[in-house]
């Protein structure tokens, strides 16, 4: 490390996140590899290092002898200013080499409000921000992750998108790139070939034409690119690559623990949920694999906590058998086990007591909406009785810390639905009074309401998002009715949700607005202290775009969407049917009870789901 960098590190907050060298980080000899891969996370180190998908892909890539994959995170504001002032480019944490030394620069897209960080990181790394300004094969910018299901707002900046499970597509992509590099292909020749890999989307090979009303007329593939880019999936999670060890940061991160992934996909079909529709079909890991992987990762990382990761933990087939076996390993080693994403309707005394054996943390239940009618609209098949029953068990078991999650601004929402939120909270508080065996200790009930953002590839992709004014009015109303003693009410400013809504369903014309916003200093937009709503609105105006066109417009059912040529497995007809059912407040049973015919099973051999 040179002196200049040491001087900078002595001035910035939390310098440990900028130096690398952690246990489990991989260092290779540059001369021994033919592909240098920068795995970039467009947010801070603490967020980046918590992300399971990045941990998996980092391991997978570094398992290849010819590839050295390094991590690159977005520096916090103070560090960025120091780097720019000193003329030090953004670098890979392992080697300290500038981003411009890398062949492939890949970003994972977890959140729309991290998009400006992508531009900023490229710029800080000395790499041209616009795809058309990167004329060589080197510095190929690739993206994947949940937001790639509508890649269009980033079409100006990104060369290729990987749609679906990264484990499945990554090595085909890097193999092709290594061949292209070896044989000296042009960037264009590589892109045309890459588009032939199933699940690879090359935005520059598609022409988009628009109608007078601003909606899309048609999307035309060129150079032999496919009309529909269907996502790739790992069919068998038991044989899928899973790292035996993780990078163990030497500084505190958001999710500072080991993780195992129970299953991919979700059997529930909540209509607001993008993950629930884009990770289909459901694929499960066997108990034996999970226990083996948990032991390996705990042994190699030294973590004192492990969490079971999935979209709906209690839907894992043999959850009690699994937790029993894991606790057998964890308890004598003082390792605690956490079970996030439990559904209130499956919360049992038995399960609670098992988890309690190690450490008692808070319990969180996602009710999402305040009335049964609205919960039926969103297909959150959970009843108020389920929530109260779960709370009853929890309070009797000595818990005194319960969190309840809600959304406001859901389609068809009325004042009655908002009143319902207050009503549930009141009932939960009363339930505590009836069931606690220690009133003196008090109770902490936290109700959080976020603003609903309609997402592409979901049944609500046709719906108008509430405007900023509507959301603020509802929030103000909530504040007047959330009066129950012992209930803390949390909400979040609606501005970030509105911008998220604008970009989530954006088209490639938004590239101009994103570029302008970044040029004018927007970055770290997901962080309140950095977010500047007015600057964003001005950027949209200057790009000649109306944010309301994207966010708060009810779309006709036959509209061509910017993401229609990206396949998430779930068919558009299914989403349409689900939208229609939602207007009648009619529910669709979960996959375990009855197949809803979403079409994602076609991605599996033999078309049979894992339920």
């Amino acid at each position: 490390m040179h002196k200049k960098m040491e001087a900078i590190l002595s001035r910035v907050q939390k310098p440990a996140r900028y130096v690398g060298g952690e246990w489990g980080s991989v260092t290779k000899d540059k001369a021994s590899v033919d592909l240098r891969f920068a795995f970039c996370f467009p947010d801070t180190y603490e967020v980046a290092m918590s992300h399971l998908g990045s941990r998996i892909l980092y391991g997978l890539l570094n398992d290849q002898p010819g590839i050295w994959c390094e991590r690159v995170c977005a520096p916090w504001i103070d560090m960025e200013a120091e780097l720019r002032a000193a003329g030090i480019p953004l670098y890979g944490l392992e080697s300290g080499d500038p981003l411009s030394d890398f062949d492939i620069i890949a970003f994972t897209l977890q959140y729309e409000l991290s998009f400006t960080n992508i531009l900023n990181m490229l710029d800080l790394g000395g790499v041209p921000v616009l795809a058309k300004d990167r004329t060589e094969l080197k510095h190929l910018v690739a993206c994947g992750g949940p937001c790639a299901y509508n890649p269009e707002p980033l079409a100006d900046f990104v060369d290729v998108f990987m749609i679906g499970d990264g484990e499945e597509i990554m090595l085909e992509f890097t193999d092709l790139y290594r061949r292209a590099k070896r044989e000296g292909w042009s960037k264009q020749a590589f892109l045309v070939q890459a588009a032939q890999i199933e699940g690879m989307y090359v935005p520059s090979l598609y022409e988009v034409s628009y109608r007078e009303d601003g909606t899309i007329d048609r999307v035309t593939p060129t150079n032999g690119a496919p009309a529909l880019v269907q996502k790739r999936i790992v069919r068998d999670l038991d044989t899928m690559y899973y790292p035996e060890s993780f990078v163990v940061p030497s500084t505190d991160i958001v999710f500072d623990r080991a993780m195992i992934e129970l299953f991919r996909g979700c059997p529930r079909g909540c209509r607001f949920c993008q993950a629930g529709h884009t990770y289909r079909p459901l694929r499960t890991k066997s108990k034996e694999t999970l226990i083996r992987q948990a032991e390996a990762v705990l042994k190699n990382s030294g973590y004192e906590e492990i969490s079971l990761s999935s979209l709906s933990t209690s839907d894992y087939g043999d959850l009690s058998g699994l937790t029993e076996a894991l606790l057998d390993y964890c308890e004598p080693r003082h390792i605690s086990l956490s079970l996030p994403s439990l559904r209130a309707d499956s919360f049992s005394t038995e399960l609670m007591q098992r988890v309690q054996k190690t450490r008692k943390s808070g319990l969180t239940f996602a009710c999402e909406a305040g009335t049964q009618r609205l919960r039926d609209v969103i297909n959150k098949n959970i009843r108020e009785e389920d929530v109260l029953h779960a709370c009853e068990i929890a309070f009797q078991g000595g818990w005194n810390n319960v969190k309840l999650y809600f959304m406001i601004g859901l389609p068809t929402e009325t004042t009655e639905d908002l009143d319902g939120i207050a009503e549930i909270c009141k009932k939960v508080a009363y339930c505590w009074k009836l069931n606690t065996n220690n009133r003196a200790r008090g109770v902490r009930i936290t109700a959080s309401a976020s603003c609903f953002v309609p997402k592409p590839q979901t049944p609500f992709q046709w719906d108008a998002q509430d405007t900023l004014e509507q959301l603020r009015e509802k929030q103000a109303y909530m504040k007047t009715i959330m009066k129950t003693k012992n209930v803390t009410y949390n909400w979040h400013d609606a501005e970030t949700s509105v911008l998220e809504g604008v970009i989530a369903r954006g088209d490639r014309r938004q590239g101009r607005a994103i570029y302008l916003a970044w040029q004018r200093g927007c970055k770290m937009d997901g962080w309140d202290q950095c977010f500047d709503y007015d600057k964003w609105m001005q950027a949209f105006a200057d790009a000649g775009l109306d944010p309301a066109f994207y966010a708060s417009r009810q779309r006709p059912l036959d509209e061509v969407f910017p993401w229609d040529h990206i396949g998430c497995g779930t068919r558009k007809e299914h989403l349409k049917r689900e939208w229609e059912l939602s207007r009648e407040a009619a529910v669709t049973p979960d996959c375990m009870r009855k197949c809803a015919g979403c079409g994602a099973n076609a991605l599996l051999k033999g078309g049979k789901c894992c339920v």
Partner: protein, 222 residues
């Protein structure tokens, strides 16, 4: 169960690990090499580890001490090698030994020896090393020292001893022993004193490294 002490070094990239983070990092490394750590019995069970005289974040050191309790009858064989195999870059175990009768008390530490490196953009400015020597040759060098109890003016010469200064083309190195414990003197005050009394010199880089720790009578702490 008995008490053990590890002497270790914290250098290179590891010098940016803060005190609290170092405790977690140590606990996890111990778990990785299956050190039989003793855990507290209470509601929130945790391993007991403690660092004597934590270094400031950004300082390096080769005379650091971590106390912990182990459940086995003796320190496992090859414990030093086992830990070094699982440490992050920059941490290095030097010695692990049992503390008979509680061992030397951390409170007995009275002096720390540091190496300070002052670095420059190009060559060391003419006369800098001599000016520094002359400054600290004075019988009194008054500085304002900040502590939890507030600010007070002290003669820092009372809190330091054995200063030697050497120079190369672009660096000046000081080795100095400063007071530790209750009325301590951070080596950073030497840099501050130079900035205050010799303002004609700009010092862009300063690095601090702890070399030794002593008790009041000059016995190396262990």
């Amino acid at each position: 169960m008995f008490k053990a002490r590890m002497k270790f070094a914290k250098e290179g990239r590891a010098k940016y690990i803060s005190h609290l983070d170092l405790m977690h990092t140590m606990q996890r490394a111990m778990a990785r090499c299956q050190m039989p750590l003793w855990f507290t019995e209470g509601f929130n069970q945790h391993a007991y580890v403690s660092v004597a005289l934590p270094l400031s974040t950004g300082y390096s050191g080769e005379c650091e001490f971590l106390d912990f309790n182990i459940t086995s009858e003796s320190v496992p064989v090859n414990a030093v090698e086992a830990l070094n195999d699982v440490f992050p870059e920059g941490l290095r175990a030097i010695e692990i030994y049992p503390l008979e009768d509680g061992g030397m008390k951390v409170g007995a530490i009275a002096w720390s020896q540091y190496r300070i490196i002052w670095g420059f953009e190009g060559r060391v400015p003419d006369g800098f090393a001599d000016a520094v020597r002359a400054l600290f040759a004075r019988s009194s060098v008054e500085i304002v020292k900040r502590s939890k109890r507030g600010e007070k003016t002290v003669n820092m010469k009372d809190l330091m001893r054995g200063l030697t200064i050497t120079e190369t083309a672009d660096e000046v190195t000081a080795v100095v022993t400063t007071a530790a414990g209750n009325d301590n003197l951070s080596p950073e005050y030497l840099t501050r004193a130079i900035r205050q009394y010799l303002p004609q010199y700009d010092i862009p880089f300063a690095a601090y490294h702890r070399m030794n720790v002593f008790t009041a009578d000059g016995t190396p702490f262990r």
